[in-house]
Structure formats: C-alpha cells, structure tokens
C-alpha cells in the first residue's frame, strides 16, 4: 500500500487548485469595491459622464431624423423608419435612446445610493458629485418625458424592482426633473472644470429649456438671462467655429470625445451617419432654409459636393460632426445661442416683440453674428414666434432640437405632414421600445396610442 500512497501523491496535479480556479479578474472591478473609498468617487463620476454622453447622439437622431431636416439614403431600417415616418416599436433608435436614459439613471442612482455610506469624502466633493448625479439624471428624464411621454421613473439601483416598474405620468416625471435640477443648482460649482462638465450655468440652461417647454415664460427668460449675464460665455465671431470646433467660446455644456474614444463607425457615430456613410443627408427644405439670406453664414452647417450629386442624392452633407482627429467630434448639450433663442421666444410670448429687452434684440444678436440681415418691424408675437421657429432651424439644425420644437409648439402636424405623407400625430411621441413591452409586465399594455 505504501507504493500506492506514493503514487497518489504523484497523481496530484502540478499546479495549485486555487490558482487555477480563482484567477483574479483583470481590468474589472466588482460592484462591491467600485465605490467604497473616497478615491473611487472621481472614477464613478467619470463613468456617469460616460453614460450620459451615450445619450447625446441618440437625442440628435430623435430631434432631427424624426423631423424634416434629413433625407434617408443609407441602408439602416431604423433610420429609414424615422425619416420616412414609419416608426415602429421595434425600431433600434427607439430602444437605444431609452436604454441610454436608463444607463444614466442607473449610474446616477448607484452613486446617490452608495455615496452617503462612504466615509472620508470631502464635503464639497460629496455635494458636487451628488449634484452632478441629480443634474444628469434630471436631464435624462427630461429627454425621456419629451420623447416617450410618461416613462418609468427609476430612482434606485434596485435591479429587481426596476424590472417590473410601470409608467409614471409625464407630469410626475417632469416634476421629478425639476426637483433634481433645483437640487443640483444649489451645489454645483459656478465654474466647472471645463465646458465638458456641468456647473451652475449648465443647470440654469437646462432650467431655461425646461420652462420654455413648460411654457412658463418668465422663468425661462429669467434662467436664460442668468446664463447670458454670467459673462462666462461669448458668441464666437465666426459661426463656422461653432460648426467645426470643439468647445467654442459659447459652449455651456458639451459632450467631449477624444481621439481615443471617438465613436467611429458605431451605429450612432454622428460623423459616420452624416459624413462617412451619409446615411442621411440634409433635406431639400433644410437646404433651402439654410441657404436663405436670413440664415446667413449658418449655411456652413452643411456643405455641397457636386461629385456626390446624382440620382436621389442632392449632394449636400451635414458638416457639424467631424472625425476624431478634426477637433470636431463633440456634441453640444447647451450653448449660448440657444439661450438667446429661448429668451427671445419667452419674451415674444410675454408680448415683448420689439424694443429694449425684446425678442427682436435677442434674435438680432444671432443674426449679427451670422452676418445675416437684422430683424426689424416684426409686429405681433405670433409673427415673431414663426420667425423664431425658423431662426431655431438656422441656428440649431442637426443638434437635435427640431422635432421637440415642433411638437411643443403644436406645429408638428402642419409642418411634418407637408414633409411626409406618412406623418401622423402618433409620431409626436416615440413608441415604448418593443423589447420593454415584451420584457416588463407592467409595460405590456402601456404602449403609446397608435403604435
């Protein structure tokens, strides 16, 4: 038997069992240690911004592709459905934006849930990170409410509960957004680390837009004025810099990409969609508008290449989103020009069409910069609002505003039914993604009407 025992020792493998069965994960952190020390706080905040940035391109797609600014000439059904107004719940853009909203919500909720339990974080950092989480979460829900209507309001990182969560009303979601915004406004720094990060003015800009959409004109004007008056931003003298540069002087809050994390040919890579593949090209309506004298230099937003003209292709391309090496791959969330437009619209609605502190004054700031003819003699608020609708097109084309603007002003039906015979008022909100109504029992019978 001695011999056998001796052999048994040999039978034991040459490597330790534990070493083989419990390899250390490489370049991964498990949940439990991702946020449990003060040093982790900065890291998860970057992670939150990363998630938030994932929302930026889908918002541009929602705001511009669902409206009348582009023609489809590519191959992706998801974009064709948006442009030709045949949107279905199975649409991939519909689920991409939805998913990115809840990615932001999870990251923010994770921080808001864990951060209070971590000792040793400096008080100011604690307040700022909390405020950042609430601001970015608020903006995500703002987009969600205006894209889909009342959506599920996820406020904790509790995965089990969030699997079966039902819809809140649009009013509930927007009330929550306001709560987040106001909390963030208190604690964010006046001057953030840079325009890629959110400070108080980003929140004020968000509040200005929030109240514009809510038709609370005085508040909209007030917050827009605060941003304009802060003196932190100025309009770049050449409009082209807004189109072709990252972080121009008027940038309030902008999603930053570097060469290393440029989206490239990803489905929602805007350069690829607008310039590379030319999956979509400017619509004839958009080209004519931007070519007009009132638009002025803002025609630089798009460009023409005769070599590309032919067949169904008008030869024009959107220039706003460059490649990683062109210092032009960022996506604006808020820039100063929008604040002038918000204030102008608020003032027009308040009856201040011309004169001091009027809509005309604000519009002319932008007209002057665009070297376009100045506005004068607009008599009525209604006429001014029509003008502002066009002005927003010239200024903000391909930054994801158009569809949201037309829907909130009640102009979607006339404008978009002229653009596409397939348009119906159903498309004033996107559908809840098919995957969500399939996977979440509480959403099963909660699809938006018409889908």
């Amino acid at each position: 038997m001695k011999k056998i025992l001796w052999i048994l020792i040999f039978l034991l493998p040459a490597v330790s069992c534990r070493e083989v069965l419990e390899p250390k994960p490489v370049d991964l952190e498990i949940d439990e240690v991702a946020l449990n020390a003060p040093a982790d706080v900065a890291n998860v905040q970057i992670g939150l911004y990363n998630a938030f940035r994932g929302m930026a391109a889908p918002v541009v797609v929602a705001g511009d592709f669902t409206a009348d600014l582009v023609l489809h000439r590519g191959t992706f059904t998801l974009f064709r459905e948006l442009v030709t107004k045949q949107i279905r719940p199975s649409n991939g853009a519909v689920s991409a934006l939805w998913g990115s909203i809840y990615n932001v919500a999870y990251s923010a909720n994770f921080i808001l849930d864990r951060l209070p339990g971590i000792a040793g974080v400096p008080a100011q950092q604690r307040r700022e990170v909390t405020a950042t989480a609430r601001f970015l979460r608020g903006y995500a829900y703002f987009i969600g409410a205006h894209t889909y209507g009342g959506i599920p309001l996820v406020t904790t990182p509790n995965v089990a509960a969030n699997r079966t969560i039902g819809r809140s009303t649009k009013e509930q979601v927007l009330a929550f957004v306001l709560e987040d915004y106001l909390a963030a406004l208190a604690d964010l720094p006046e001057r953030p680390a840079g325009p890629g990060f959110a400070g108080k003015n980003a929140v004020r800009a968000a509040l200005a837009r929030y109240f514009l959409y809510q038709r609370e004109w005085a508040s909209a004007e007030q917050y827009a004025s605060q941003v304009i008056g802060s003196g932190q931003y100025r309009l770049d003298p050449a409009f082209e810099d807004v189109v072709l540069r990252d972080f121009p002087a008027e940038s309030i809050f902008e999603m930053g990409y570097t060469l290393a994390d440029d989206p490239g040919t990803a489905t929602f890579g805007l350069n690829n969609l607008f310039v590379g593949r030319r999956e979509v090209i400017p619509s004839n309506q958009a080209i004519l508008a931007l070519l007009s004298a009132q638009s002025g230099e803002r025609i630089r937003t798009i460009g023409f290449n005769p070599g590309q003209q032919g067949g169904t292709d008008n030869g024009w391309s959107v220039r706003k989103y460059g490649t990683g090496d062109e210092d032009n791959n960022n996506i604006y969330i808020f820039r100063l020009a929008e604040m002038y437009l918000i204030r102008a619209e608020a003032r027009a609605n308040l009856g201040r069409v011309a004169g001091a502190n009027s809509a005309t004054e604000d519009i002319n700031v932008l007209r002057a910069r665009a070297k376009a003819g100045l506005v004068s003699g607009v008599g009525t608020p209604a006429a001014m609002l029509t003008l502002i609708e066009q002005e927003r097109l010239y200024e903000l084309a391909y930054e994801g505003h158009r569809w949201y603007d037309l829907v909130r002003t009640g102009r979607a039906q006339p404008v978009l039914s002229a653009f596409s015979p397939n348009w119906s008022s159903t498309y004033e909100v996107w559908p809840i993604p098919l995957s969500e109504t399939q996977r979440n029992p509480s959403l099963r019978n909660a699809q938006n009407p018409g889908y």
């Binding site: 493998p13 952190e29 498990i30 590519g74 064709r80 990251s107 996977r439 979440n440």
Partner: protein
C-alpha cells in the same frame, strides 16, 4: 472542496483493488513475437489466469513468470488477439500474437483508457481517417461530415478555412457553446474563431489548423456512458482524435500530391442594368415621384452593365503536398510528417495557406517504463476578405451592388472614392474591396504533449501526461485610401486604416491516471481508471489601430499619422478535476461501466464552483448466451446497451457571476462605469442523458447495424437573459430554462459484393427533436438579426425548438393592390408587431449520409451523399435582393420580374414602391424549404499493381481524382442551402444573408509509398 476530497477517496478505493498475493512454483520463460514479421513484442502482459500473478515482456519480448503446471498463461497486448496456453510441463513458452483486424476487435480510445470495440457499451462512432483520405478536407471537423449518425456537420460558407458547425445530437444550449469538445491525443484543442476582428459573419476556424492527413482515427462520443467522463465539457459530445503513430519494422515513407481547381457551386441570378432600371423606374412612379428627377434615365443610368458577381469571382487553385515517414525498432517508434496546403478561395485575393509538421515518438525504456511525445506545429496564413452583412464585403457587396457602375476606368485603373463613377456608399467597388485591403491572419499552433507510463504491477499502470495547445495569432490589416473604410469613410480611415492585433490562446494540461485491469477467475474482468486533471488557460490579446497614412505606399502603423486606439488584455481561467472510470464484465456477456467526474471551474462563483457528473451503463451481449447458439450460423454479435448519466456545459465567458465595473473614459479622463450585473448563483448547464442502443453484426460482417434511441434533458440553461432596460442593463447571465433533445439514430453497413468486385455501403440517418421546454419567464426571447416590423428574425419560446423563425405570416399578394397580405393575428385591423408569430424553424427532420464504395482490382470508386430533410432556411438576402422597392441601392434578383404590376396580377412578389417598407417586413415570404441531397464527394482511385512496382523499389502508387459538392438537389432558391451566416449560432441558425455559397473542388491526387 469536499466533493473533490470525496473523489480522492473514490480513487483510493479503486486503487485498492491492487492488493496482490504472489504465489510461487515453477519458472517459465519465453519470447513473444508478432505473427506478421516475427519481430519481438515488448510490453506484452503475461498473466496467470485467475490470479494476480503477472509479468511484462521486456524490450526483446522476453518474459519470465512463475506458474504451476495446471495454470493457464494469458498473453495480452493492445491491438493483438489475446492468446492462452496451458503451462503443463513446459519451461519455455514462445508465443506469437496476431494483430487484430476486424472492426469489432479494433481498439478504440474511450476517454482516458482504451477498449476493444466489441466491449464498448456506450454510443460511440469511430471514423477511420481512411474514409476521408481522398477528400480535400481542410480541418479535423470537416472530416466528420456525413460520417456518423447523429452528427450534423455543416460548412457555414465556401470560404477556405472558414467556420464549420458541428452538432452532436442536436443543440443543448441557447447561448453557451454548442460545439463538441475536440481532444487530440489527450489535449483539448481550441475551437471557434481565432481572429479578433469580425468579418461580417464569416469567421475563421481554429480546427482548420490541424492537418487531417496526420489523423489516424476519430471517435465521436455521444451518450452519457461515453462522455460523462468529460464532465462539464461533455454535454455537446466529445470527439477524440488520434494522430498517426509509428509501428516497429521497416521505415515506410509516403508522399502525396494533390492539385485541383475550385469554383462556386451556383451563382445568384441577378438583374442586368436595363431590367433593374425598368424596375426602379416603376418603383419610383408607384411612390408618386418622377424617375427622371431621381436620376433614373434610360440610356444614361444603364449605360454601364457590370456583372459584379462575375467580377469578384475566380476559379481558385488548390494544391496540397504531404510527406510522411514512419517506422521504428522494437523499442522506439516514430511518425514524422510535413504538409503544405495552399487553397485559393473563389473570391479574388482570398487564400488559405498552411504548413504543418508532426512528430510522434514512443519509446519503451524498460518493460515497465514507456514514454513519448506528440508534437504538431502548424503555421497558417489566411488572406481573408470581408463577407456577409458587411456593406463593404466582397461577395456580399458584389451581389448588392448596382450594375450601373464599373470596377475599372478606361485606363484599366480601379475606380476609387476620388474618381467619377465611383458608386460610393453603400455600394463602393467590390473588386477594389477584394484586391486592395490586406487582411492577413498569421496563426501558429503548437499542439504537443509528453507522457510517461509505468507498469507498477502487471495489472496496475500509472500514466502522467503534460500537454499544451498553444495558439498564437497575428492579424495584419490595412485598408488603403481607395477602399470604403480606408478612404471613403472619414470617420474611420480618412487616408488609410490599419489594425494590427495579436492573440495568444493557450491551455496547459496535466493529466495523471492510474489504470487497473485484472481478470478474476476466468469470467470476471475489471478495468478501472482513476485520475486527476488540471487545465489552466490564458487568453492574451492586444491591438493597435492607426489612420492617416502619408500615402498608400505606407501600410504599417509605424507610418500612421494618428494612432488612435490600442488595447491589451489578459484573461485567465481554469478547470480542475478528479475522475474515475470503472468497467466490469462477466463472462464477456454482461458489461457494466460506471464513471464519475468532479469538475471545478473558474467560471462560477464560490458556492457553485464544483459540479459532479456521474454515469452508469450496462450492456448485454445476447449473442453469447447459450440459447442464442442456434443463430450462430449467421449472427456474429448482438449487443444491447443502456446508459444513463449527466454531463455539463460551462461554455460561457469568464467572470459572468460577478457584477462588475469596467474602465470608462470621458473627455480625456478615465474612470469606471457599470458594465455587468452579477449573478452569484450562476452555475453549470446540466444535461441528463438516457440512451438505449443495439449493435448487431451478421454473416461475418456482411451486414451490421447500430441503432440508438436517446432522451436528453438539459436544465439550468446558461443564458444572458434579456431584462428591461429600465434596470440600466440589457441582460443578466442566468440559468433560465430547460431544453429537451430526443432522437433516434441508425447506421447500417453492408458488404453487398465481396468477390473480385467489392461493393460496400455505409448509411446513416438520424432524427433529433429539439424542444425548448421551459424558460424562466413566459416571454419569448428574441434573437438573430434585427428585423423590420417585428423586432427580430428569431425567437426562443417554450414548446418550440431552437432556431425558430419569427415574423409576420405572409398570405400572398393582394391581386387588387399588389401589397403583401399578412395575417392579422390579433384581428385589430392593423398589421403590427403584435401580429408576429412563429413562422418556421431551421431544425431538420432527418439528416444523414450514404457512402458507396466499389473496388475492382486496383480501382476504387466511392461516392458520398449527404442529406438534410425538413429544415427551413431564412433567405434574408431577399430583404435586400427582393426588397419590394424599400431602397434603390441594391440590385434585385430575377424573381423580381414576377412582381405585381397591375390589378389582377396573381403573383407572390409584391409591387415595388420606392422607400416603402411595408411589403418588406420580416415575414414567411422569406422562408424556404432548406432540404437538400448533395453529392458531397465522388472519388475514383487506382492502385498500381504491386508486381509492376517492385521493379522500381516502390511499394505503392495510388492515383485518384476527387470532386466535392458536385451535385445538389434542393428546392431552395438561394445559391446554397447548406450555408449559415451566423456561424456557430444555435438560436439563429439557417440564415442566408449574402453568404458565400460552398465551392466545388475537383482535384487529382497521387500517393507514392516507399
């Protein structure tokens, strides 16, 4: 850990059978030789029957043993018929052993041991390499095609060295691997794709790195009896591959040359410029627009008419050379070979080159101690082209591209993005896409092991093996500024685009076994194996990407203006196991086998790390019963087998049980972001398998058959369960359901004629019924491609099989409007996603193969047919090629000419309306019968008569001609019913999405033996 301990105890018990008692009387000596050439046979076991007394023949074949006069000595050696002799008054007994030849007496590898085929009571199929020797198969997986009942081997495309799907007894898993475990000489080998970069569905294939011409045999383990010993990796079946080894005696040298041509089996039938223009103009008019305004002008638009498919295809040249030598002395045996294979694909610039060499060496140091090595080194260069669902693919681009553009300008220069007449997105220039990019994969494989075995006593052997499967892969890629990525799309290339990536995928394996075999009395036979195995694995990958090259003369990243992405990564994993295998037979009639394995895997959390996989089986050789004696005139062998047991599947990525954060960047800063939800309860997939089989052989092997019935039930399915996005995640890895596979298999071999003309037939047929029994939720899980209108092309739903297609039910074309009529399932008057339903599935009712071989004098003719019946194919290419006008960027197939044009037209092709997606929604319109019968191979060979050869000191010359994929019978309208775009997918198999069809290869070969 205590499960591991419990098996160590089992092992000790097994080892305990060795308690031996030596008795002594007279000394007998002698020499054991082979009857064939009288050479000595070392290592022969000499046993006194009914006792533990035994001895081993030494290197000269000499033995010495003590035995009483009435004792019977039993001489046994693997591969030779046992020989018994009564001692009587002899003191010198010389014995000649005869090598076994009949199939039933062949020795088969059964995991960690070997057994005579007739004693096997599991469901296994042995495929001798001889059966594929004249077929130009590229890798060891392809060699199994059509050869074994219950084994479905399909080639995903006609790309040389491309993906091959092997399924043993259906699919057991939704998302974990469904590939069988391939074990070459005891070392599990890398399968699946090697290259890091996706090429649009068409993957490369690690198993193509092994040269089938160095293989002696394949053993496919199919039931629990056979494969439970492979535990957590056994659920999908196991293929044991044995390489050729030397035999003592004369050194024989063999040289083989094969040369041939390949071409595509069938081209898609597409429209020419004039036909397409007419169709597109009609589509635009139907949409209420003016074709002239859209630039569709007769005489202008269709001035060029290019057949793009012809432009990118060619006839490829195939060549293959092999030299091998084998031989040895009574103590040392070797097999040495070198091989070169060069196969041009039918797509321009597509080529597969492989150099490989094998050395197998066995040495008997003493009668007790033997050691040896197997080393295979293989080097591969694969010039790849993009395919399938890539817009800038070669074949896929060519089918889709409008015929209005030309590949070359008037000066014969390739038309690039800067030139007028470049189609641009989404068509590009498929000829340039083939010729200009450099997509080279260089792979080196070192597959090797060292072993030593020691006979502690005649009945107890210890064996230790150390091995590795080491794969080193380099991908060297450059797309010039005249290509789609490198030039046309500034978001990636701008001015040239290069990627260089490397990967090392290696396992190391240490297997130690103790084998015990003993005969008690003359009726009880015991064989036991106990062992341990440990398999650490590493994956090291890195890549770097560069853009903006000075010009197309600079193609390496050292010259890139911007190096904008780079990565390196390491992944470790491992498996540690203890196993035992116990065989008992009584009187050669009643056979029992018990096996058990405990596996620990790094892929599961602390509480779920170990899995236990036992099996029990029994066999009854009915033909050896006394009452069967009266049938012995025609019945050689009749055996009933029953087995029951468990095997597992751990084929998922690492660390899925952990909830994790990974690196995230923003605006030049780096941090961490959530990447995955954890599941601490994640565990093995477990398959319970039951099998009943019958083996019968009649009239000295003139007719033999094997039949099996099985019932397999896989539970705790590993699945990335899709969860609502409101959680912040799309899925969580779980164990969420059960799948059943039930089936029958029959293989029949007949010797129809056995005179001057010899004619044999091998036939196998099998039916597998796959059903998803339970899922964690009642909700269907969607898989496959995104599909217009209904979400996805495929669905996983209880009571349906895997590979179920999802979509609207197409009822025909409305003769009045020309629009598609879909079934309004919920009766709400609107066609929407709620009307989507199960429309078919890719699972065949029957699969099989039939091989006929006729030989006459030196001639040999063999034909091999493969068939699949009852499977459906989703011809997803038609969403592009018969798209009812959805877009005007794609050429259309000839079937489009049957479209509805005016009220009253009765047709199955809807009207064409530019930009309209309604008629192009995912529906049963794209589903077709994928059944086929294919003449997979036809070979004619001739062996020159021996008397002619001796004069030239040549021992054999064989010339042969062989053709593959020569003829296909199918109703499928696409070019090839055998392809599958999502190579290796189970939930979305049987989809044809611009997939390159198989190729027809015709070769001439010559083998000379010295």
């Amino acid at each position: 850990m205590h499960k591991l301990l419990s098996l160590v105890v089992t092992l000790i018990v097994l080892a305990g059978f060795t308690g031996s008692a030596y008795s002594q009387s007279r000394t007998v000596t002698g020499k054991v030789t082979q009857s064939e050439d009288n050479s000595p046979l070392p290592g022969v076991n000499v046993l006194v029957r009914g006792s533990a007394t035994g001895a081993l023949a030494d290197v000269e074949g000499n033995y010495t043993i003590s035995a009483e006069p009435d004792a019977v000595l039993v001489f046994s050696f693997i591969g030779f018929a046992p020989y018994e002799v009564r001692v009587g008054n002899q003191t010198t007994i010389n014995v000649q052993l005869t090598a076994l030849v009949t199939e039933l007496n062949q020795v088969v590898v059964t995991g960690y041991n070997t057994q005579q085929a007739r004693d096997v009571i599991g469901s296994i199929t042995t495929v001798s390499a001889d059966r594929v020797k004249d077929i130009p198969v590229v890798g060891i997986d392809q060699a199994l095609q059509g050869q074994a009942a219950g084994v479905q081997v399909t080639q995903s495309s006609g790309t040389p060295g491309g993906g091959i799907s092997v399924r043993v007894r259906g699919s057991t898993s939704i998302s974990a691997s469904n590939r069988p475990l391939f074990v070459v000489d005891g070392v599990p080998v890398e399968d699946g794709q090697l290259a890091l970069r996706e090429f649009g569905g068409q993957n490369d294939n690690a198993l193509a790195m092994l040269n089938p011409k160095d293989i002696e045999s394949y053993v496919i383990l199919k039931d629990a009896n056979a494969k439970a010993i492979y535990g957590s990796r056994g659920a999908n079946g196991v293929v044991l591959v044995t390489t050729k080894r030397g035999k003592s005696g004369r050194t024989s040298i063999s040289a083989n040359v094969e040369r041939g041509l390949t071409e595509i089996i069938r081209k898609p039938d597409l429209l020419n410029s004039r036909e397409l223009l007419e169709l597109q103009r009609e589509a635009v008019i139907n949409a209420g627009d003016d074709p002239i305004r859209q630039g569709l002008i007769p005489g202008v638009t269709d001035a060029v008419d290019t057949d793009w498919v012809d432009a990118i295809l060619r006839r490829g040249v195939y060549q293959q050379y092999q030299v091998s030598a084998s031989g040895g002395t009574d103590r040392t045996r070797f097999y040495l070979s070198g091989n070169f294979r060069d196969e041009e694909g039918v797509q321009l610039n597509n080529r597969f080159l492989r150099f490989s060499g094998t050395l197998n060496l066995d040495h008997n140091a003493t009668p007790r101690l033997a050691f040896g090595t197997n080393i295979t080194i293989s080097r591969l260069r694969n010039d790849r082209v993009k395919g399938d669902n890539f817009l800038d693919g070669v074949y896929s681009g060519a089918i889709k591209s409008l015929p209005y553009y030309a590949p070359y300008d008037e000066q014969g220069k390739l038309i690039g993005p800067d030139a007028p007449g470049y189609a641009g997105f989404p068509n590009f220039n498929p000829v340039a896409q083939a010729l200009l990019p450099r997509f080279q994969t260089f792979a080196t494989k070192i597959l090797g092991n060292l072993y030593a075995s020691y006979n502690i006593t005649p009945s107890l052997k210890f064996r230790a093996q150390l091995g590795t499967d080491f794969n080193d892969v380099i991908e060297d890629q450059f797309e010039s500024s005249a290509t789609a990525i490198g030039g046309y799309l500034p978001s990636v290339g701008g001015r040239g685009y290069g990627i260089y990536s490397t990967g090392v995928y290696a396992i190391f394996i240490n297997t130690n076994t103790l084998t015990f075999s003993r005969t008690i009395g003359d009726k009880h036979n015991l064989i036991g194996v106990a062992g341990t195995e440990i398999i650490p694995r590493i994956d090291r990958t890195s890549s770097v990407q560069g853009r903006l090259f000075p010009s197309d003369d600079f193609t390496y990243i050292t010259s890139a203006g911007i190096v904008d992405a780079g990565s390196s990564f390491l992944l470790r994993s491992g498996l540690a196991s203890v196993f035992g295998d116990f065989n008992y037979s009584y009187s050669d009639r009643y056979l029992v086998r018990l096996t058990a394995r405990t596996d620990g895997s790094s892929r599961f959390g602390e509480n779920r790390r170990f899995g236990f996989f036992p099996s029990a089986s029994a066999g009854w050789r009915i033909s050896s019963e006394p009452f069967m004696e009266r049938f012995s005139g025609f019945l050689d062998d009749l055996k009933l087998r029953v087995s029951y047991g468990f095997s597992g599947n751990q084929g998922i990525p690492e660390f899925q049980f952990l909830g994790t954060f990974s690196a995230a960047t923003y605006n030049g800063s780096s941090g961490t972001g959530p990447s995955r939800l954890g599941n601490a309860l994640l565990q093995w997939e477990s398959t319970r398998e039951a099998n009943i089989g019958l083996d019968a052989s009649f009239w000295n092997g003139r007719l033999s058959f094997t039949a099996d019935v099985y019932d397999n039930y896989t539970s705790k399915l590993l699945f990335a369960e899709p969860i609502p996005l409101t959680t912040g995640f799309g899925s969580v890895q779980g164990n969420i359901g059960n799948i059943a596979n039930q089936g029958v298999e029959l293989s029949v071999k007949t010797v129809n004629l056995d005179r001057t003309v010899k004619w044999t037939t091998d036939f196998n047929i099998s039916r597998n019924v796959n059903t998803v029994v339970v899922l964690a939720t009642d909700d269907p899980l969607f898989r496959g491609y995104d599909a217009t209108g209904v979400g996805s092309t495929n669905v996983v739903v209880p009571s349906q099989p895997l590979g179920t297609f999802w979509g609207l039910r197409f009822l025909g074309v409305d003769a009045a409007t020309g629009d598609a009529i879909y079934q309004d399932l919920n009766g709400d008057g609107v066609i929407g996603p709620d009307d989507a339903q199960v429309i078919g599935n890719a699972q065949p009712d029957f699969i099989g193969g039939i091989t006929n071989k006729v030989s006459w004098r030196g001639f040999e003719l063999s034909g091999f047919f493969q068939f699949s019946y009852g499977n459906e194919m989703l011809n997803l290419s038609k969403t592009g090629l018969l798209n009812a006008g959805e877009d005007l960027n794609t050429n259309q197939m000839r079937e489009a000419l049957q479209r509805w044009r005016r009220p009253g037209d009765i047709t199955h092709v809807p009207r064409y309306v530019s930009g309209d997606t309604y008629n192009n929604q995912q529906s049963s319109r794209f589903l077709e019968d994928g059944s086929y019968l294919r003449l997979k191979n036809l070979t004619l060979g001739y062996n020159l008569p021996a008397d002619l050869l001796t004069r030239y000191k040549v021992s054999s010359i064989r010339v042969y001609a062989s053709g593959t994929n020569l003829w296909t019978l199918t109703r499928y309208s696409g070019p090839d019913p055998e392809v599958s775009t999502l190579d290796g997918s189970t939930t979305a198999q049987g989809i044809d999405f611009f997939t390159l069809p198989q190729v027809r290869t015709v070769i001439l070969g010559l083998t000379v033996g010295f």
